[in-house]
């Protein structure tokens, strides 16, 4: 799992690096367009294109009926039933390609979150680091030690939260840095990447121990210690800015990928 995740992250880092000179939206737009084209190709290959064509014709016919016979209630009612049925059939036909696409798209989106969903910590603004401990943890036992890289201040002692099996530290970035927080837990060292500053970059999410959790939080290698479930840093949400419009990256991603697919569907001969 770690190998798979780091391979995808590695590819995305290469891509992100290639566009590091440009505003984040440019790289995101190219990636979104490529994803749109890929989705279109998968849709064409995995759906029943002939049936789709038929169903779409039925939809158009029903819409036309509604418009032409607007003053005839019986016809309108029949057309609405027909339209509803055709829509259901269309959704049924789209289900198979959707199932094909959901896994690769999900993996892609989860990995892209590290590049576009989270912003680095703001310099001078407090943030909270939380470590979740494995069952059996004794809240009265000494808390793990935390060593922060230069530029990150650990502001005060940790809080051991018995009710949640968690330990929280308050940290304050004092400089623009990319580094690692190092925790010492029962003689074992655990590292967690930390990013602070204003430049958008790869910002990993939660570090986790279990393989299942690593599917959802794939941005760092799994935690090797059995004593720790996960480690998280509260990062600000990032947004992608274009012409003064600030939107969540997913809005740009889906918008651009859908536009790319719509523009290329005829050229690629795909009915959607």
């Amino acid at each position: 799992m770690d190998l798979f995740n780091s391979a995808i992250d590695g590819l995305l880092k290469l891509f992100f690096g290639a566009f590091s000179w440009a505003p984040p939206l440019l790289g995101l737009a190219v990636l979104s367009a490529l994803a749109g084209v890929a989705m279109l190709w998968v849709f064409g290959k995995t759906s029943n294109q002939a049936r789709m064509k038929q169903v779409k014709k039925k939809v158009y016919a029903s819409l036309l009926e509604l418009r032409v016979f607007a003053d005839e209630p019986a016809v309108t009612w029949r057309a609405q039933k027909s339209l509803f049925a055709a829509n259901l059939r269309y959704m049924g036909l789209a289900l198979k390609p959707a199932l094909w696409m959901i896994v690769p798209m999900g993996v892609l989106i989860l990995h892209m979150e590290s590049f576009y969903a989270r912003a680095p910590l703001a310099v001078g603004r407090e943030a909270i680091v939380t470590m979740s401990m494995a069952p059996g943890w004794d809240a009265r036992a000494a808390a793990p030690s935390l060593t922060a890289p230069g530029g990150i201040e650990v502001a005060g002692p940790p809080v051991r939260v018995e009710a949640e099996r968690e330990i929280s530290w308050r940290i304050v970035p004092r400089a623009d840095i990319s580094g690692q927080l190092v925790f010492r837990v029962g003689g074992q060292e655990i590292a967690k990447r930390i990013e602070a500053g204003s430049r958008q970059r790869f910002v990993p999410g939660k570090s986790v121990r279990s393989m299942l959790a690593a599917l959802w939080d794939p941005s760092e290698p799994r935690i090797a210690s059995d004593a720790v479930e996960w480690i998280d840093i509260t990062c600000p949400e990032a947004s992608v800015d274009a012409l003064g419009v600030r939107l969540n990256w997913l809005v740009w991603f889906f918008g651009i990928s859908v536009i790319a697919a719509l523009l290329l569907k005829k050229r690629m001969g795909v009915v959607i």
């Binding site: 407090e126 909270i128 002692p157 809080v159 051991r160 939260v161 018995e162 949640e164 929280s168 308050r170």
Partner: protein, 637 residues
């Protein structure tokens, strides 16, 4: 063709709009004239005179410009005084006479500055009551604000925190309401204090609520109360849960609201928490902000939660004009206190805060205020900028006469801000610094109702029931001639006005004169000093005749004396005068001539005895505008 024409038309239109926007400030009547007015509540002339050497900017302002005492209002209370600055009228004109008025019929105290009207038409659906017409919050003050008059003449003004201006008066000027702005719960300010200390027996505390909490496995859930849900039939109080997890051994805790964590050490203040109090789940909520002070973790948790301030980014009530102004300010300077008086004098008076804790909170407010002040100073280009500082007044109440060094630190911070304003003003901008009143020691608390009782003007249904019970709990109205409520006010229990009043209108003046004579003879039993310096009758003290809520007599105490807290809310304790042992040690609710304010300017002041009501006239005249109807002042220059 049509496309290109349309594009050209749009371009031309856009250019016209842009040019218009760029020129709009130059086309005002204010072109070339600028004025900065700083309102420093409670700045005292004697304190200034004793500390000129520590206040370099104020000292330079008086030597290069001028410094005079500024006559205050009767009574010298902030809402009354600032309403006079706002309207240019005396209290008889604008109709504000105290922090609290009394309902003439019921005699019950009520807030003097604003009133709320419920929606007239509603629709009930299940437990919900949906308003079909809007409810209103409106000011009770009469008269037009001077910045409205400036607006009539297209002179821009930015008014930050003018007291007694909630809701912000409607106009096209930028304004943010000040003293009188409620918290989100609709109270003047209510803080909450949570503890699981079994020794803490109090259930009621000054201006706040004491809440006992359970701690299980180091965790306490604090139920933070929001506004009453006016969309529900039962008007159930809204709330949110703030989770506090205490470390088992260290004096540190984690606070969690809506999944977001904050870590605080004992003795630390949190940053602002943003809270949404649900009115209709998932559809409608009221936005508030608050700060938390982790006073103690072990052995017992003690947490102070500030009043829930109206979130300036999503204001639930009209705190600014235009309504988007508070959001723009919050975007520029971050969240800020919106409640009228934010300094936590209540927790200090209740003994929950030490002096240092009070000062740490007070300095946070001043720091917020200075941040906003610097922003507004940088933005100021044309017309008028008014900025109000509350810190000197609120700190003087708690520090006066005992902690002068601490108070001087506050004066110094304001002095530095004045220095920045002087630099911005240069030679081409008039700068005026004023205060609404000065200060004096508050050594002895006077129970006016007890005085009236002992003089035979007030009777109890059982003479043994003297004490701190408020709202005239044991007063026999059938035998009572006069009563006191508020800080300087005595009312006649008048037939036809008060419900069950017994004094015929024809006898009123004679009784008032008798009370006034007794007040002038009123000696402090402890030392024989005069308790009262001056007694004022509204008909002879005011030019205005808007006297609906006016007391029948104003008591101007000697320096060192003030009406007790019990008097303010209609209690009748045993003794007439007692030592003020509370942390609130300075005050100004005395005879007006004993506590004048200050007036400083970077220009010479021509007026021999400038008065508060001269200030709006001075501002209007600066921009070539004459007094409006009802204004009684003259320019001080």
């Amino acid at each position: 063709m049509s496309v290109s024409l349309s594009r050209r038309s749009l371009t031309v239109a856009a250019l016209i709009v842009l040019i218009g926007a760029g020129c709009s400030r130059q086309t005002t009547r204010a072109a070339g004239k600028k004025m900065i007015v700083l309102g420093i509540d409670g700045m005292d002339p004697q304190f200034l005179e004793a500390h000129w050497s520590s206040l370099p900017n104020l000292n330079r302002l008086r030597t290069e410009g001028d410094f005079k005492r500024l006559g205050t209002t009767i009574p010298p209370q902030s809402p009354v005084a600032w309403a006079t600055v706002t309207t240019g009228m005396d209290p008889g004109g604008h109709g504000l006479f105290d922090f609290v008025h009394r309902n003439p019929t019921t005699r019950m105290p009520m807030t003097s500055m604003s009133e709320v009207t419920e929606p007239a038409r509603t629709l009930t659906i299940g437990p919900y009551v949906l308003p079909l017409s809007s409810g209103t919050v409106k000011q009770t003050r009469a008269g037009r604000a001077f910045w409205q008059i400036l607006g009539d003449h297209h002179i821009p003004a930015t008014m930050i925190r003018m007291p007694a201006n909630f809701p912000a008066v409607e106009c096209e000027q930028q304004s943010l309401s000040g003293m009188g702005t409620p918290d989100l719960r609709g109270t003047s300010r209510t803080y909450m204090y949570f503890t699981h200390d079994p020794e803490e027996k109090r259930t009621t505390i000054s201006a706040g609520e004491m809440v006992k909490v359970d701690v299980q496995r180091g965790r306490a859930i604090l139920k933070i109360l929001g506004p009453p849900n006016t969309l529900r039939k039962d008007r159930a109080t809204t709330s949110i849960d703030l989770t506090v997890d205490m470390d088992p051994t260290e004096n540190v805790a984690r606070l969690t609201l809506d999944g977001a964590h904050t870590v605080l050490r004992q003795g630390e203040w949190s940053d602002w928490f943003h809270a949404s109090f649900p009115l209709i789940k998932g559809l409608k909520s009221a936005a508030g902000i608050f700060r938390v002070y982790l006073q103690q973790v072990h052995p017992y948790l003690r947490v102070y939660v500030s009043p829930i301030n109206i979130d300036p980014a999503e204001p639930a009530l009209p705190i600014s004009t235009p309504s988007t102004f508070s959001r723009a300010l919050a975007d520029s300077v971050g969240p800020f206190y919106t409640e009228g008086i934010a300094e936590e004098t209540g927790a200090y008076r209740a003994g929950l805060f030490s002096k240092d804790e009070f000062l740490s909170q007070s300095k946070k407010i001043l720091s917020d205020s200075l941040r906003m002040f610097r922003h507004e100073l940088a933005e100021f280009q044309d017309g008028l900028l008014f900025y109000y500082f509350s810190s000197v007044d609120q700190n003087a109440h708690m520090l006066w006469g005992k902690y002068d060094d601490d108070l001087l630190e506050i004066y110094k911070a304001v002095d530095a801000a004045i220095g920045e304003a002087m630099q911005k003003a240069g030679n081409d901008t008039k700068l005026v610094v004023l205060s609404d009143h000065g200060f004096a020691r508050f050594d002895r608390a006077v129970h006016l109702n007890t005085f009236l009782m002992k003089q035979g003007f007030l009777a109890l249904d059982d003479p043994t029931k003297v004490g701190d019970d408020e709202l005239f709990a044991h007063v026999d109205w059938g035998r009572t001639v006069a009563y006191a409520v508020g800080l300087n006010a005595i009312y006649i229990n008048q037939e036809g006005r008060e419900d069950g009043g017994i004094v015929p209108a024809v006898d009123k003046q004679a009784i008032l004169e008798k009370i006034a004579a007794r007040l002038k003879e009123f000696k402090d039993p402890a030392n024989g000093a005069n308790v009262v310096d001056t007694v004022y009758f509204p008909e002879t003290s005011f030019r205005g005749r808007n006297l609906k809520y006016s007391p029948d007599l104003f008591v101007g105490f000697s320096r060192g004396y003030r009406a007790s807290w019990q008097t303010a809310l209609g209690a009748v304790p045993r003794d007439t005068v007692e030592d003020n042992t509370q942390a609130w040690r300075g005050d100004h609710c005395m005879a007006s001539h004993l506590v004048p304010g200050v007036l400083l300017s970077n220009r010479k002041i021509a007026a021999g005895e400038p008065q508060l009501y001269d200030i709006p006239t001075t501002i209007l005249n600066e921009f070539g505008v004459q007094n409006a109807s009802g204004m009684i002042g003259k320019s001080v220059f």
